[in-house]
Amino acid sequence: MSRGGLDQNFNGIKTKQLTVQKESSPILFKDLINHIVENYISNKKDLETFIEEDTIRPGILVLINDTDWELEGKEDYELENGDLITFTSTLHGG
């Protein structure tokens, strides 16, 4: 699910299978964001690194399967079963 620095936010978990439930379909990307914030981010500082103005911080790349979420409608993307979501930030080493 996450890679490149960001896995620190999630206790070092790199790939995780999530089940997001909601009363009415479709399930949108913004529902996934809420689900992650509520269930996987434990402290406030990590929250600030990940979220800004109720969406993913602009410094973080969100990739839906093999495509930048900017090309997929961002928060309004309709999640499909089996979608692979990758979060990545700039890496700082060289």
């Binding site: 936010n9 690194t49 410094g59 093999d66």
Partner: protein, 292 residues
């Protein structure tokens, strides 16, 4: 200089023959390589392998920017330097070896740390065809990106930490997206994203440097054109299985602060940089900083 003429000596034919027979390079590609000038910023974990393969491939002129000296802790991954060269400037250590690898390549060094004050001098010191960003400090990436966009230069950019890496071609022919299009905002200072020292496995960062050399050859030989170039990001991971994933990325962002087509949106300019209005301060160890 004589070594950038378009004809080859017999020795050069022998040296590059195996590479010229590959259709994607060909004799015409070899000529383009010989005529090209590439500026490599950073002679560390990424720069070492990139420099080795670009020098081997017969790039005409290579500039190396690095003000650091070789330290023992570098040597597990910065394989172009040796234990005997500990304490020497990395750009000098690199130049010495590269000259003996391929005397046809002109190597020039810039033993300085890029800053608001000197980056345009360095980037405009010659007609560079391409910048390789092999640096290890995120804010330097913004500085390099901004100056390259303003100078109209394409960047092959990579980075890595622990066992992972990223690679992208930025500002391709002033037409592809830039680093700020991808990352408009640096992570907050002292966050887990910025200051950790995660360590790094030698061949994991090494592979990124070699991939950069391949991309540089592809850019110089004209494999990418405005017609076929699609913005992308590569993610490499050494574990559990070595993988290199390719992501289709956004185009140039219309309101990008440095590369926007719209003049009014482009608030980062040579003068805002050189006047120090824009402060690319140290990434870590400061509670606040001021970067656009």
């Amino acid at each position: 200089a004589a070594n950038r003429e378009s004809s080859f000596s017999l020795e050069e034919y022998r040296r590059y023959g195996r590479q010229m027979t590959v259709p994607e390079v060909g004799i015409s590609g070899q000529v383009m390589l010989k005529k090209s000038k590439i500026l490599v910023v950073g002679a560390g974990g990424l720069g070492c392998p990139a420099l080795l393969y670009l020098t081997g491939a017969g790039v005409g002129k290579i500039g190396i920017v690095d003000n650091d000296v070789v330290d023992t802790s570098n040597l597990h991954r910065q394989v172009l330097h040796t234990s005997e060269n500990v304490g020497m400037l990395k750009c000098d250590s690199a130049k010495k070896y590269l000259n003996s690898l391929n005397p046809h390549v002109e190597i020039v060094t810039f033993p300085k740390r890029l800053s608001n004050d000197n980056i345009f001098n360095v980037f405009l010191s010659d007609k560079w065809d391409l910048i390789l960003d092999c640096t290890d400090a995120p804010l330097t990436r913004y500085l390099i990106n901004d100056a390259a966009v303003i100078c109209g230069l394409t960047i092959v950019s990579a980075s890595g930490v622990r066992a992972d890496g990223q690679l992208a071609i930025l500002n391709f022919q002033n037409f592809g997206p830039c680093y700020r299009c991808f990352y408009p905002k640096p992570p907050p200072p002292n966050s887990v994203l910025s200051c950790q020292d995660g360590g790094v496995i030698g061949p994991a960062i090494g592979v990124m440097g070699v991939l950069m050399a391949s991309e540089a050859i592809k850019v110089i030989c004209g494999s990418y054109t405005r017609e076929n170039f699609k913005p992308f990001l590569n993610l490499y991971s050494a574990y559990p299985q070595q993988s290199l994933r390719t992501f289709k990325m956004r185009s140039k962002v219309p309101n990008c602060q440095v590369c926007s087509i719209d003049n009014d949106k482009r608030i980062i300019t040579r003068s805002t940089i050189e006047s120090n209005e824009l402060n690319y301060s140290e990434w870590c160890g400061k509670v606040s900083y001021d970067v656009l």
